[in-house]
């Protein structure tokens, strides 16, 4: 699925150059579940953005199903994101003026799906995360956990190959965190997703079958035998 070879990402701010990623080599197989951990500023989110076709590396290859994302135009990257990649963010990133159902529909808009079908697919996705009764609610009318469920439904409604989650439980309490993780794990299994998650939470990291640790732009991958 993913093949990263010697990926670097540098940011230049004035005279300073930050090496966010420094020669990353990583392989993520189809259906794999990888947790990325590391200190703040270690390059976790940058790596997730590279995997999500949100940004291009300064050098190196990021091959997704045979396509090098590093060489694609902005338009092609947009297409890759719309078809293959689902995102879950720490702050949920829901559109505040749209209902839960409409928020989920936003992921289907770029695919050119008709409104009626969009509504049905969004409703089904929300049912799958336990929000069948909240279709018409605005984000502001829901709890943090519910909002994250809407965000998860939005990420999986288009049946992507990859699910990328950037600290999805970072803004939630422990109880809600577990509920959300249960939902994510269930969907990962049900949809056969490749699931990459960035987290600061050691409890979640310990449960991951593969753990990648990023420090100063360098990566170390460990397999967790207990899972």
């Amino acid at each position: 699925m993913y093949e990263l070879k010697n990926v670097t990402k540098r940011y230049t701010r004035g005279k300073d150059t930050v090496h966010a990623l420094d020669g990353i080599d990583l392989t993520i197989a189809d259906g794999d579940r990888l947790v990325i951990q590391g200190p703040t500023g270690g390059g976790k989110s940058t790596l997730l953005q590279m995997l999500g076709a949100l940004d291009r590396p300064t050098s190196g290859d990021i091959v997704l199903d045979g396509t090098d994302l590093a060489t694609l135009t902005e338009a092609r990257l947009t297409k890759v994101r719309s078809e293959n990649i689902g995102f879950v963010f720490q702050s949920f990133n829901l559109i505040p003026t749209l209902t839960a159902q409409e928020n989920v529909e936003t992921a289907l808009v770029p695919l050119g799906i008709k409104a009626k079908e969009r509504r049905e697919l969004a409703a089904d996705a929300l049912k799958s995360v336990g929000l069948a009764e909240r279709l018409g609610h605005l984000p502001g009318e829901m709890s943090g956990g519910q909002q994250q469920r809407v965000a998860i439904a939005r990420a999986v409604v288009k049946k992507p190959k990859v699910l990328l989650a950037d600290e999805p439980t970072g803004n939630l309490d422990e109880g809600t965190r577990d509920e959300i993780m249960d939902v994510l794990e269930r969907l990962w299994k049900e949809h056969g997703l490749t699931f990459v998650m960035v987290t600061h939470d050691s409890t979640l990291a310990k449960k991951a079958p593969r753990l990648a640790t990023l420090r100063k732009g360098r990566i170390t991958v460990t397999e967790n035998a207990r899972t």
């Binding site: 989110s45 949100l54 940004d55 947009t78 995102f87 990133n93 559109i95 003026t97 936003t106 695919l111």
Partner: protein, 480 residues
């Protein structure tokens, strides 16, 4: 999704949207009012000029001014016999004078008509009639003292004094216009409507018929069929005319031949009314006439418009200069404010747009959403502006402020010199009161809608440009 998102977003930002819409509304309303008032001014000016010219006249030709005669031979003189005190009969005398005392030969009309670019030329004669009628009685000598006693003065003659006698007379002055009945489409009578009876027939070139202005007819109690006597010639009133502007060219209209006879101005005219073949070539035709018909002054509508002074002129300048610039300044400010507010709204929605791009929304779709919101805001402002502008224009028309227009008050050369039947130079400046209206044309509404869309697009361009440049990774990183 586009409209749902747009509607909800505008509802969420209704205060900002209201500010943008209000700014645009103010600018658009100003444009409508200024445009309408300007059109009203133009209409009022046309009305003023039409009252002198009549419809369809592009220019007039009058005799070039010459130095006034030193003698007073042209002043009207009246001679009445003194009657005895017991004779109460009325004496009456009228004088018919050519207005302005400057005439052109009738052959000049034909000559002007032959000039290139002239479609039609027709002569007219403006007259002023002064009628004095009343009783003029002799005084009687009365001797002083009673009882037949005679007192003698130093020369020994009888003493006494003249008592009684004097004059009780009425002066009536009115204007007469001799119109060429064979050319009913040109001349001052075209600015009046026949409200009773009929106008002249083309065959009535020397008939003793008259058309009276409605105001004069009312004053003198003339109706169709009444008779009017001018210098002992009796004319039958065949029609009553009402001037469109309320200010008639003359009190009485007669066939040109009759007017010439009355004023002893055989084959003379005071004014030639000229219609050009092409309204775009008026200046060229003017130059042609001035070159080929010496001793004449050619006055075009534009020349005459330049002589309009008074509150109409002031208001017109105000509307043109201040109004236009003010509305432009307000519009520019409104566009800028709309643009900046939209741009600022995009800044506040960086995460939102970054997320949408992360979900696979193309930049064009995100930009379209921003522009769509701005255009709808602009259209709302436009609708509000049109409503305000229409209300403003309606208010101006409802109040109909009266404006005064003075024509020909420039005194000397170069100014209005007899464009109308009032005659050249010696005639005092003509003052007209016109009611200002503010007609809103379809073109003005189209302009307003165009401005509203433009305002929305300008605002949308500001915000859309920012949104299109937003890279999803940067957008999401910025809000981490």
């Amino acid at each position: 999704m586009f409209f749902t998102y747009l509607r909800r977003e505008l509802r969420r930002r209704r205060k900002a949207a209201l500010v943008v819409a209000s700014g645009l509304a103010l600018g658009i309303a100003l444009v409508i009012v200024v445009n309408s008032v300007s059109q009203g001014m133009g209409k009022a000016q046309d009305q003023v000029l039409q009252s002198l010219y009549g419809l369809g006249t592009d220019m007039t030709v009058t005799k070039a001014a010459s130095a006034p005669a030193g003698d007073d031979s042209e002043r009207p003189r009246f001679r009445f016999d003194a009657r005895s005190s017991d004779d109460d009969s009325t004496q009456s005398s009228d004088r018919v004078m050519v207005q302005g005392f400057q005439t052109l030969s009738a052959s000049t009309v034909a000559k002007v008509g032959e000039q290139s670019g002239v479609s039609d030329a027709v002569g007219g004669l403006s007259l002023q009639v002064l009628k004095v009628s009343g009783q003029f009685t002799r005084g009687q000598f009365q001797q002083d003292g009673g009882g037949g006693e005679l007192r003698r003065g130093g020369d020994g003659g009888p003493q006494g004094g003249v008592q009684g006698g004097g004059a009780d007379f009425d002066v009536n002055s009115y204007s007469v216009y001799g119109t060429d009945v064979t050319e009913p489409g040109l001349g001052p009578l075209t600015s009046s409507k026949i409200t009773s009876g009929r106008t002249f027939r083309t065959t009535e070139t020397n008939a003793k018929v008259a058309v009276a202005d409605s105001a004069y007819a009312k004053e003198k109690k003339y109706t169709v069929g009444s008779t009017v006597t001018v210098k002992d010639v009796t004319f039958r009133v065949i029609g009553i005319a009402t001037a469109d502007s309320g200010d008639p060219a003359a009190d009485l209209y007669l066939p040109l031949g009759q007017a010439q006879t009355l004023s002893d101005a055989k084959n003379k005219v005071t004014t030639i009314y000229v219609k050009a073949t092409d309204s775009q070539r008026i200046d060229g035709v003017k130059a042609e006439i001035q070159k080929n018909v010496p001793g004449t002054t050619v006055t075009t509508s534009a020349d005459l418009a330049d002589t309009v002074s008074g509150s109409l002129s002031t208001a017109s300048s105000l509307a043109t200069e201040v109004g236009r610039w003010l509305s432009l300044a307000v519009l520019v400010a409104a566009f800028l404010v709309a643009g900046l507010l939209t741009s600022s709204a995009v800044s506040r929605r960086v995460r939102e747009f970054g997320t949408l791009k992360a979900l696979g929304w193309k930049s064009g779709r995100v930009t379209g959403q921003v522009v769509g919101e701005a255009v709808v805001g602009g259209l709302a402002g436009g609708a509000l502006g049109i409503a305000l502008g229409l209300a403003g224009a309606y208010a101006v028309t409802a109040v109909s402020p009266s404006l005064q227009a003075q024509l020909g008050g420039t005194g000397g050369g170069g100014g209005f010199s007899g464009g109308g039947p009032a005659g050249p130079r010696r005639t005092a400046a003509k003052t007209l009161d016109v009611a200002l209206t503010a007609p809103v044309s379809v073109a003005t509404i189209v302009l307003a809608v165009g401005l509203a869309v433009a305002g929305g697009l300008v605002a949308g361009a500001f915000g859309g440009w920012r949104a299109s440049r937003l890279r999803p990774a940067d957008a999401l990183r910025r809000v981490e």
